[in-house]
Subunit: 381 residues, 2 copies
């Protein structure tokens, strides 16, 4: 999705692809093949580029540093580690005074149970690295939870890498995300705070701006996102995913937030900006990593709703070709913006998204949900 | 510029390029090389595609027909000939009752002078084929015009191809364009009528919608464009460029129009739609040629102004790299949308365009003009 923005700006992209069939390699040329941990491939690739950036966070620090010897790497290893390692992230955010759930580094079951005596059950157990879309996350309800078997395996696996991360299970009112872009010279821009809806740990729906959000809370959250971007030296797009929580302070209930996750790249919570903002997250990511002045992040309509198209749980013949849905979806609603990624279908996989914008939130949301559900084969009219 | 729209829809483009350095081949893969009149290359290319369309009108009818034997070719040869041959176009539009300038097919100087006794001087002399951006057009002021030497050469050149086209020189108040898309099954959609400003025969600026346009005239013009699209069997985007003229009928002056040119492809007069309409001309062109339902052509802002970035007449060192202008242009106006095509600079060549949209026409126009002028090196602040 970076490529349309690059084409408009006349920038030539090349992609280092994990294999010839990845979606990016279908639309960007040249696309040499190389794994994210293949140091030689990384350096050979980087030496042909004026700047290198990422659409995931899985390039190890050694690779990032080796590439930085030959070209501009944005974001750099020292920033990206906070999106790669959840323990490093928690330590740093806590040091910056950013509100987080209660957390502890835990080496074994006893440490989790000790943590639970203070934070209470359930406890959320996470592998520090490699988690994605709900993977590497375990919710333990108490000492009898069936998940302890998996936890045990994880502890063994992470024993010589500092153990796991335990976090308080936060009873949130909803999830929000703050998206900002920051350039190497320090210019930063923030899109409106959005509401995100997850299903089974996977982002499902985003509403921009977040409805019924206290303006003070939105400002505070934006400020925190910009503070994180600056404090961590982030370049490009940073998504700060938070839980909105209800806290009673001196007898008065008020809404506030704790930070859940960070992503340092164009992020699913910002896909709405392709059709919904003056400058999309992809364009501003490119502008940021090239240290060009950032574009306006203003929304173009009162409401924009993005709904992901996920691979149906049972892939039936009717859905073998998602393009068939175009006939109905486009005829039904000439204003819907359909984005398919050209990926092979797998149950639950993000295959695309649809975006609708307009003046009335309920209408916009209903239109977007219908288009996504039909495309994903969840409904047939 | 077709490729960002194709990427969003998950459609795979391939391009038959005239050479490895053409702009489209830089962003689309694969891009086999073949000339527009190389029948073998055309058929080999077409046989790999589900549908074939064009970003210019120079593929000869024989090539179009050969490709149509192996795949869907949109628009087809019978439609495209009207955008290829100006005499065929004038004959057909006249038969359809579409207002045109007075015109005649002329074989020699005497025929031009005879035409002038009725239509008056100056006479506009055009080669039926091959004209583009003001090329192949000659304005003859009278019997003493210096242009007769060129005219003589053209007559010799076109003697066995039916001669040239003579047209009345229309004293227009301004130029307008109506852009429509039409699918093979006959669905059609029209963008708002725009005002275009030409310099030296080259499109320079487009304002959408055309300011101060009589709604009845806008409706009439849209109706004519749709009638032409249907009558000629156009598929994909059709641009109808017209002269707005002042006519005195029964003592009352009223504005009307005559058709100047047709283009059957996404057209410069529709570039504003990339940032300014719900569905761009490129997306609707793709949807049309695939016979998918067309998207909304509604404008997204009260005013959108597009200004072309033309290669400066004197290419100075400062302008060797247009990207340098990004620093100023983007910092000066975070809302401007810059589009560069990655083409090598030549004086007067269309190297890109900028688009600005908003509520106040004067402001929007001033912003767009500044960004384009700075990018083209015409001003330096």
């Amino acid at each position: 999705m970076m490529q349309p923005a690059a084409t408009a700006l006349g920038l030539r992209l090349r992609v280092l692809a994990e294999g010839p069939d990845v979606a990016a390699a279908q639309v960007v040329t040249p696309a040499p093949i190389g794994a994210a941990d293949d140091l030689e491939a990384l350096v050979a690739f980087a030496s042909e580029c004026d700047a290198v950036t990422f659409d995931h966070e899985h390039v190890p620090g050694a690779g990032l540093r080796a590439m930085a010897e030959v070209t501009s790497v944005q974001p750099g290893a020292d920033a990206l580690v906070h999106a790669q390692d959840k323990v490093v992230m928690r330590e740093r955010l806590t040091a910056l005074g950013v509100p987080c759930p209660a957390w502890a580094r835990v080496a074994d079951r006893a440490a989790v149970e000790a943590f639970a005596t203070e934070a209470g059950w359930p406890v959320v157990l996470k592998t520090p690295r490699g988690g994605y879309d709900g993977k590497g996350v375990l919710v333990l309800d108490g000492p009898d939870d069936a998940g302890w078997a998996t936890a045990g395996a994880w502890f063994a696996d992470w024993a010589d890498r500092g153990g796991l991360l335990a976090e308080e299970h936060v009873p949130f009112t909803r999830e929000l995300a703050a998206l900002v872009a920051r350039s190497p010279s320090g210019q930063a821009a923030a899109w409106p705070v959005v509401e995100t809806v997850q299903r089974d740990g996977v982002c499902h729906e985003v509403t921009a701006p977040a409805p019924d959000l206290d303006p003070d809370l939105a400002a505070e959250l934006t400020d925190v996102a910009l503070r994180i971007a600056g404090g961590l030296g982030v370049t490009g797009v940073l998504a700060v995913e938070v839980f909105e929580v209800e806290r009673v302070v001196q007898g008065v209930s008020r809404r506030t937030f704790v930070v859940n996750e960070l992503a340092m790249r164009p992020h699913n919570s910002g896909h709405w900006s392709i059709d919904g903002a003056v400058t999309s997250q992809f364009e501003n990511h490119l502008r940021a990593v090239l240290d060009l002045p950032l574009g306006s992040t203003a929304p173009r309509a009162p409401w924009t709703v993005m709904v992901n198209v996920l691979g149906p749980k049972a892939i039936e013949a009717r859905h073998e070709d998602l393009y068939r849905s175009y006939l109905h979806v486009m005829a039904h609603d000439p204003g819907v913006k359909v984005h398919l990624y050209g990926k092979e279908q797998r149950p639950g996989r993000k295959l695309g998204h649809v975006t609708v914008y307009g003046d009335d939130l309920d209408t916009v949301r209903a239109r977007a949900r219908h288009a996504a559900a039909f495309t994903a084969g969840e409904i047939d009219e």
